[in-house]
């Protein structure tokens, strides 16, 4: 976190003092620059999992024809390589993960669908986070009426079951694009970062380093974004990941009900078609199983990242897990 302060000149006595201590090696354990809480095993594993999924999505398009993810591009109902379907057809290497009811290649569906699902989450979480940062800082810093209104609104919005509202809205909309869906989901993604940031700002407002910065004549803006914000980083990151998870969850819910985007292949949409096509009864496990597995791995990766970030934010957890 010290690195965030190197890009602006040292102004306040407090920062001078901090720069002083930063130059001196503190304890033996901290000498190694790799020995930071950011390099905990949960966080790394999670990042690697999510990275792999995205990499397959990005590089996969180079090695595999993404057009096969659309209807009638391949033979129907083929099983993955090494398996035989109920009609006695064996899987071929032309469609290594098999194909489904209307001739979509499963591998292509995974390659195109996984990044799509992830993108919805990231867009919704980014919008929610930006709104949350603005509202959270305003509430925590300005206090008074502003705080009352923001707190009430976030208390209210956080209890609304977003999926229910989205179902009604999307049932009425004619066509939905991936980004429209992400923005609709973002309507419900701001309350939790807002609450989190407000709480942290309230507790940090009275802390020594903020008072010091105030005494040194730093502006409110500087205090908010140069002093407090860097300290909130692990919380913000955890909240961002939590929001991404929530947004993907909402998107999957809508897609599985058949309310997702119809023009682009999505993992939830694939599960919807699998349920509609009675994939369970026809023992076409690859049809529903592959998108389910991909999503499950994605969610486990996100959870690991979140747990890793929690350990950074809460040192007591770090001790407990060792």
């Amino acid at each position: 976190m010290a690195s965030t302060n190197t890009d602006h000149p040292i102004e306040t006595p407090f920062e001078l003092a901090r720069a002083e201590t930063a130059r001196k090696p503190k304890r033996m354990g901290r000498l190694n620059r790799w020995d930071t809480p950011w390099f905990n095993s949960k966080l790394i594993t999670g990042v690697v999992i999510i990275g792999l999924i995205l990499l397959i999505g990005i590089l996969g398009r180079l090695f595999w024809n993404a057009d096969l993810a659309y209807t009638a591009s391949s033979p129907l109902n083929l099983p993955p390589v090494g398996f035989v379907n109920t009609r006695g057809q064996a899987g071929t290497w032309e469609h290594p993960l098999g194909t489904e009811n209307s001739g979509r290649d499963m591998l292509a569906l995974m390659i195109v669908g996984a990044p799509n699902s992830f993108m919805v989450g990231v867009i919704a979480a980014t919008v929610g986070m930006s709104v949350g940062i603005i509202l959270g800082f305003s509430a925590g810093f300005l206090g008074g009426r502003v705080d009352d209104v923001i707190r009430l609104l976030s208390d209210v919005s956080i209890t609304i079951p977003a999926l229910m509202v989205l179902i009604v809205i999307q049932a009425l909309l004619k066509q939905i694009e991936l980004t429209t869906m992400a923005l609709l989901i973002a309507l419900f993604a701001w309350p939790s970062p807002t609450r989190l940031i407000r709480g942290q700002v309230l507790s940090m407002r009275e802390s020594g380093y903020v008072l010091m910065a105030k005494l040194s004549g730093a502006s409110s803006f500087d205090i908010m974004f140069k002093e407090i914000l860097p300290n909130l980083l692990p919380y913000l990151a955890a909240s961002f990941i939590g929001n991404t998870t929530g947004a993907i969850l909402a998107a999957i819910g809508l897609e599985v009900l058949g309310l997702g985007p119809q023009r682009v292949p999505t993992l939830g949409g694939t599960i919807y078609f699998a349920i509609e096509g009675a994939a369970l009864l026809r023992n076409m496990w690859w049809w529903w199983g592959l998108p389910t597995l991909t999503l499950a791995i994605m969610f486990i990766g996100l959870l690991l990242i979140n747990l890793g970030l929690d350990e950074i934010a809460n040192p007591r957890l770090r001790q407990a897990s060792q």
Binding site: V168, R316, A320
Partner: protein, 336 residues
């Protein structure tokens, strides 16, 4: 409930009514600011799915009149709010003379029942395991086993539902695949029927419990670790109190409070998850009602059922909030 102050009660009730009002307004507003008129969009979809729809312009006009879509928007909005306050959602479009409320009424007990069972199990199990994880006296082995059981945590309940249905209903045939009780059975209050309900409800409940208890375990562990560092813990130990008494009266009692607040906050997500699970299992609750309605383009039912779920959630949150001061006496002294 003598401990609740007027200010606390007023604030909780404000949150409750605002929740309902904001949801109702969002539902009404967004489709209207979106391009295209919803009714024509619905007919267009019906045309796509079922081929030619006879007299589609008459249908459009009829529905427009039914919904009062020719009136100015503020009038429409007020009438809509009026209907919602009276919980009057009109008639089902797909099964015409049936009122939406009757359809909801049939499904509601199933949803509420499953929700209560699933949430109770999840909450108790999750917090119990979380407390064990953080407690010093817990055997090492248990501390290694619990995280293994949390492998499903964080994946959506709907995915767990698909997995469970495949393994335990399709492959092993231990549980039925769909429905809330055996087909052809008359709902009655006898052992046979109850057994059937339990058998049908096991997998849906399990898919909710499996994916969510881990959150409570993690949260509880975090809270327990925080409580562990408090001074009163040292005092309690120094006094030589029974470790079980310390665990229950000092640690769990304090650590559980934020968990109850978290329950109120995550209830919306839990309910949404359950609606989807019900749909996967064709469980006779709101999820199946909503999905059938989506399929039939039965807009009044989609709106009514979804709104009812929202009200149900807001009501549960209100109840939790009103119970909360009883378990945390400090809360009523909050502000003013």
């Amino acid at each position: 409930m003598g401990g609740i102050t007027f200010g606390y009660l007023a604030r909780r009730l404000t949150v409750f009514f605002l929740t309902i009002w904001i949801s109702a307004t969002l539902i009404w507003l967004i489709p209207r600011v979106a391009p295209g008129d919803p009714i024509s969009a619905m007919v267009a979809r019906m045309t796509r799915q079922a081929g030619y729809v006879e007299n589609s312009d008459v249908i459009i006009e009829g529905w427009k009149a039914r919904f009062g879509l020719n009136d100015p928007l503020p009038v429409q909005y007020l009438r809509y709010l009026g209907n919602i306050i009276r919980l009057d959602f009109g008639y089902s479009l797909a099964f015409f003379p049936t009122p939406v409320n009757e359809i909801i009424g049939r499904a509601l007990p199933w949803t509420v029942g499953l929700l209560l069972v699933a949430i109770t199990i999840t909450f108790l199990l999750g917090n119990f395991l979380g407390a064990l994880l953080a407690w010093r006296q817990t055997p090492r082995l248990i501390k290694y086993i619990i995280p293994l059981g949390m492998i499903f945590t964080s994946i959506p309940s709907i995915l767990a539902a698909l997995f469970l249905i495949y393994v335990f209903a399709y492959m092993l045939d231990w549980f039925p695949m769909i429905g809330s009780y055996a087909r052809g059975m008359q709902p009655a209050f006898n052992m046979e029927f109850i057994a059937s309900v339990i058998k049908h409800g096991t997998l849906p409940a399990l898919s909710i419990v499996l994916v969510s208890f881990g959150y409570w375990t993690l949260g509880m562990r975090g809270m327990m670790v925080t409580v562990e560092g408090e001074d009163y813990m040292h005092l309690a130990r120094a006094k030589g109190l029974n470790p079980f008494y310390v665990l229950y009266r000092y640690m769990v009692r304090n650590a559980i409070l934020p968990q109850v607040t978290a329950l109120a906050i995550t209830l919306g997500t839990l309910v949404s998850g359950q609606v989807l699970v019900e749909y996967i299992f064709s469980y006779q609750g709101m999820g199946t009602v909503i999905f059938t309605a989506i399929r039939n383009q039965d807009y009044t039912v989609i709106q009514g059922a979804s709104f009812f779920v929202i009200v149900l959630t807001a009501l549960s949150v209100l109840i939790i909030d009103l119970i909360y001061p009883m378990i945390d006496p400090r809360i009523t002294y909050e502000r003013k």
